[in-house]
């Protein structure tokens, strides 16, 4: 019996102690007509236990089923070098198989990691406090929106300005999560020349009505850099909170939300995947959420705090739990319970190994590689940049042929050529978003160039 240690003697002794004739008897409170004899409807191959050896063979076959394509897709998930130490440490049993640190004294390892993570995220974002993770970047943005709506004492309307330059999947996610709480998401169109969000577009979208918050992506989906200072100041001038949606690798080079405009953004959130998480089909990733001290009691999710033990020695514990569902129930700041703890561990170790300088080098190399890629591809006839403004480590291109066709043909040569912009932005059809992180080589880029050349 895989993973069950009971010998038949154990079982017999235990049943005798209970005073039950059989294990079956232990289920006698379940109405008989509901009892299932076994698990029906499974394919035969899944009925009996498969030894680890067989499952290994199966999974190895599936893991290699799709070859080893070279990837130029970014759009919210980035292939970066992950130091070998990160996952060798993160998967140590004591991190991997621990629960949420409810018993603080027995969980100082996890708790200190959370505190260190919070410290690193506040350093990166320039804000005062951080929580200890949310599910992913998109759901973190949803929580940021809800938080802003709750926290804004000046504006009671639940109107939130959401630039169209935010990743379409993020906007969809926010919508799914917030729409029944009376939040109105107002889309702000991007500038067709610059690819960014202008003050004029904001004014038009707000149409003079008070808004609780403005979301400011930096860089935005197109890789384009937004005028974050002006946008933040505009928000504050209109009594809206400013929510920065940021890429943590970009923060190595770009102004942190805490420094935006005159007063700094109020909230920053985003996807932590670039900090040591493999692409892994999209998850598990790591949502982060930081804010100013003033907003801390509106922050959803777990927070670790530093305290002292009976002897006055420092220690760490979960704190401000009165915000959370297990104490506050229907009045909690969010329903989140299980979060992305193990990914927090990975990100913390990753950030320790990279440091500010390492992160900066990674960011600069990604940016330079994408610049090279873009330069090479735009040598080709009919391939040109979609937008004029400066970008960071991602480039939107216009193609001379339908993007799906081009991508399919590239995929046949094991090149994943980018993110099809036309699906979410029909007006940008045929548009393609490309990205070459620091792991892409000059040879990879040449290969892409040559393959595309053959197609056009």
């Amino acid at each position: 019996m895989p993973f069950i240690p009971h010998t038949s003697e154990d079982t017999a002794a235990m049943l005798a102690a209970i005073g039950a004739a059989s294990i079956e008897d232990l289920f006698d409170e379940i109405p008989a007509e509901l009892r299932a004899g076994e698990i029906a409807g499974l394919p035969d191959s899944m009925l009996s236990p498969a030894p680890e050896m067989d499952v290994t063979r199966l999974m190895q076959a599936r893991a290699r089923a799709d070859g080893e394509p070279v990837c130029f897709i970014g759009a919210g998930a980035y292939e970066h070098h992950i130091p070998a130490a990160v996952w060798q440490l993160t998967t140590r049993g004591e991190f991997y198989s621990a629960y949420t640190p409810y018993q603080a004294e027995a969980s100082q390892g996890t708790l200190q990691v959370l505190y260190e993570f919070q410290s690193m995220m506040t350093a990166l974002t320039g804000l005062d406090v951080s929580n200890a993770s949310l599910y992913d970047g998109a759901s973190a943005l949803a929580e940021a929106v809800l938080m802003a709506v709750r926290a804004n004492r000046k504006v009671k309307d639940k109107r939130v300005l959401m630039p169209a330059s935010v990743h379409p999947f993020y906007r969809q996610t926010v919508r799914s999560i917030v729409r029944h709480q009376g939040v109105e998401l107002i889309e702000v169109p991007y500038d067709r020349t610059g690819g960014h969000t202008t003050i004029e577009a904001l004014e038009q979208a707000a149409a003079g009505q008070a808004c609780a918050a403005l979301v400011i992506p930096q860089p935005n989906l197109f890789g384009v850099l937004e005028e974050v200072d002006a946008l933040t100041d505009w928000a504050h001038a209109h009594n809206a909170l400013a929510i920065g949606l940021v890429n943590p690798i970009a923060l190595a080079l770009l102004s942190p939300p805490g420094d935006w405009g005159d007063k700094g953004a109020d909230i920053a959130c985003g996807e932590g995947q670039p900090l040591g998480m493999p692409l892994a089909s999209g998850g598990p990733y790591l949502g982060f959420l930081c804010c100013t001290q003033a907003l801390v009691r509106q922050l959803p999710g777990r927070i670790a705090g530093k305290t002292q033990d009976l002897d006055g020695r420092p220690g760490y514990t979960l704190t401000l739990q009165a915000r959370e569902q297990h104490i506050r129930r229907s009045k909690a700041t969010s329903n989140i319970c299980t979060n992305q703890g193990l990914l927090v561990t990975a990100a913390t170790i990753h950030l320790a190994l990279l440091g500010a300088e390492g992160l900066e080098r990674v960011a600069a190399n990604c940016h330079a590689n994408t610049r090279t890629l873009s330069a090479r591809l735009t040598e080709l006839p009919g391939v040109e940049p979609l937008f004029e403004r400066p970008v960071f480590h991602e480039q939107a291109l216009r193609l001379p042929r339908p993007t799906p066709e081009v991508l399919a043909a590239l995929a046949e040569t094991d090149i994943l050529g980018g993110f099809d912009l036309g699906r979410a932005y029909p007006e940008l059809d045929p548009g393609l978003l490309v990205c070459a992180t620091e792991v892409r080589t000059a040879a990879d880029i040449d290969r892409y160039h040559d393959a595309l050349q053959r197609l056009l």
Binding site: F3, I39, A77, S97, Q103, Y115, S281, A332, V362
Partner: protein
């Protein structure tokens, strides 16, 4: 010591960064960072040593018996980790084309099928990232269902007082109001109170069965009948399926929608707080509303994604991509290691262990919250007698267990039982582990009588002594700051 305390200006783990910093003059200065973030500056050895030692300060399944009720801390098979981490799985971009995603999609499709079979539901979406997100998805589907029928008055969700805090919180996130239903003295939902609460405003009820008080609600069929009769839907909080796998199916009990915590029943690791995975299963009438993406099998036997383009009525996306896929893979591997037969055995032995522990503790004189009832995968003790007689609290008792090398059971949950311990041994623990736990409980009770101060100041054997939670909340210190900013 924090990793920041090891920091030294200029120190680096040099192998981890590219050799050079290319020029980025094309990034406008106004948008550039002015000073470097205060991240630690440490060597690779510093880092490895620091986190290795930190890890050793944790209790975990791999080191301790961890009978944390409602959390299902069972063995996380190591193969689940290594096979889900095969390079082919880790390297796949979420936006890779289907042509380059068949391996992982086959696993996800199989997992959908397995979860359907296990729960008796008509269709499953793997998208929710954890239990609470599964709940949100579930109640959003209930809402979508009523809305689609123009039944807009159904704005109330019923939740038993024993329910997990995520239940009411999720209902609120979906824009519902929450009404609490009391639990009867026998641990089952008070059916009469429930009946009184039902009405045209009822959107549905969120139930856990076996419930969080550790018993199987014997009236489930009556409840289902009455809620349905009132026009409401039944939501099943399947965070804890460990006691019912292969024994009874939520679909057969009459539930319309269910979420499952794969990070409990399907043994994916807890990772010190996550990640989890909270798939949802639905009866046929809710299928159109399932969260996206889903995996389907095309006529040519290849796997295809279904998203907003094919599922117009979906409640939508819950994360940017497909949820916690790496965790779904771990659950799938676990399911294959067990097979259907093994899953049923999980419930058999989880139930056996819980009832054995219940019996032994009760014979040792501990007071059960529901002495007439069978345990499901877990059960509740109340220490109110010990609290009164010896002036100790359940928390004191729990902290002292740590000294004995046992993680404490869940304390003070569910809220309706005073001074309670919710105990869930799981099927992967041996009789000896349970017996040793009983001995420790008895020994600690003797200490409570003879030297209660030992409990009140426990733990004594851990890296830190009792931590001051009040101080943590009063003098908020949530992040290390460089000296200049302190």
């Amino acid at each position: 010591m924090l990793i920041h305390d090891h920091s030294h200006p200029g120190r680096r783990a040099a192998a981890q960064a590219p050799l050079t910093t290319p020029d980025c003059a094309d990034l406008p200065t106004a948008l550039r960072r002015q000073r470097r973030p205060a991240l630690p500056e440490v060597s690779e050895l510093d880092t490895v040593r620091h986190y290795t030692r930190l890890s050793q300060q944790n209790f975990s399944i791999d080191t301790h018996f961890y009978p944390l009720g409602s959390c299902t801390m069972k063995y996380n098979p190591r193969a689940c980790n290594s096979l889900a981490s095969l390079p082919g799985f880790l390297a796949r971009h979420p936006a890779a084309p289907e042509t380059h995603s068949q391996g992982v999609m086959a696993c996800l499709f199989d997992l959908q099928e397995i979860l359907k079979a296990v729960t008796g539901m008509h269709a499953v979406s793997l998208a929710p990232a954890a239990g609470a997100q599964g709940e949100l998805a579930g109640v959003l589907m209930i809402r979508a269902y009523h809305d689609a029928r123009g039944d807009h008055a159904r704005r109330e969700i019923l939740v038993p007082d024993a329910a997990h805090g995520t239940n009411p919180a999720s209902a609120i996130m979906a824009g519902f109001e929450v009404r609490e239903i009391p639990t009867g003295a026998d641990g089952d939902v008070d059916v009469e109170a429930l009946s009184r609460a039902l009405g045209p405003q009822t959107a549905g009820i969120m139930l856990t069965n076996p419930s969080t008080v550790g018993v199987f609600d014997r009236n489930i069929q009556i409840i289902a009948e009455r809620v349905h009769a009132a026009g409401g839907l039944l939501y099943y909080d399947g965070a804890n399926l460990n006691a019912i796998l292969g024994q009874v199916r939520p679909g057969d009990m009459g539930f319309d929608v269910i979420h499952m915590n794969l990070h409990k029943t399907f043994s994916t690791p807890h990772g010190g707080g996550g990640p989890g995975a909270g798939p949802v299963g639905v009866a046929k009438h809710l299928e159109p509303y399932l969260p996206i993406p889903l995996v389907a099998r095309a006529s040519d036997d290849t796997f295809v994604w279904q998203d907003e383009h094919s599922h117009h009525d979906s409640i939508g996306r819950l994360t940017a991509f497909g949820g916690n896929i790496g965790i779904l893979l771990r659950a799938y591997i676990y399911a294959r290691l067990l097979g259907g037969a093994g899953m049923k055995r999980v419930a058999d032995y989880a139930t056996l262990n819980a009832n054995y522990l219940l019996k032994r503790l009760s014979e040792a004189g501990f007071q059960l919250a529901y002495p007439q009832r069978r345990a499901s995968h877990e059960f509740i003790l109340t220490l109110k007698r010990e609290a009164k007689n010896y002036g100790i609290s359940t928390m004191d008792f729990a902290k002292r267990l740590l000294d004995y090398g046992f993680h404490a059971p869940t304390t003070y949950f569910p809220l309706l039982v005073p001074e309670c311990l919710l105990i869930e041994p799981t099927e992967t623990e041996s009789k000896e582990a349970l017996d040793a736990f009983v001995e420790a409980m008895i020994a600690i009770r003797a200490e409570a009588e003879q030297e209660p101060e030992t409990l009140r100041t426990a733990p004594h054997q851990l890296p830190v002594k009792r931590l001051d939670d009040v101080r943590a909340a009063r003098h908020l210190d949530l992040a290390w700051k460089p000296a200049a900013e302190r």
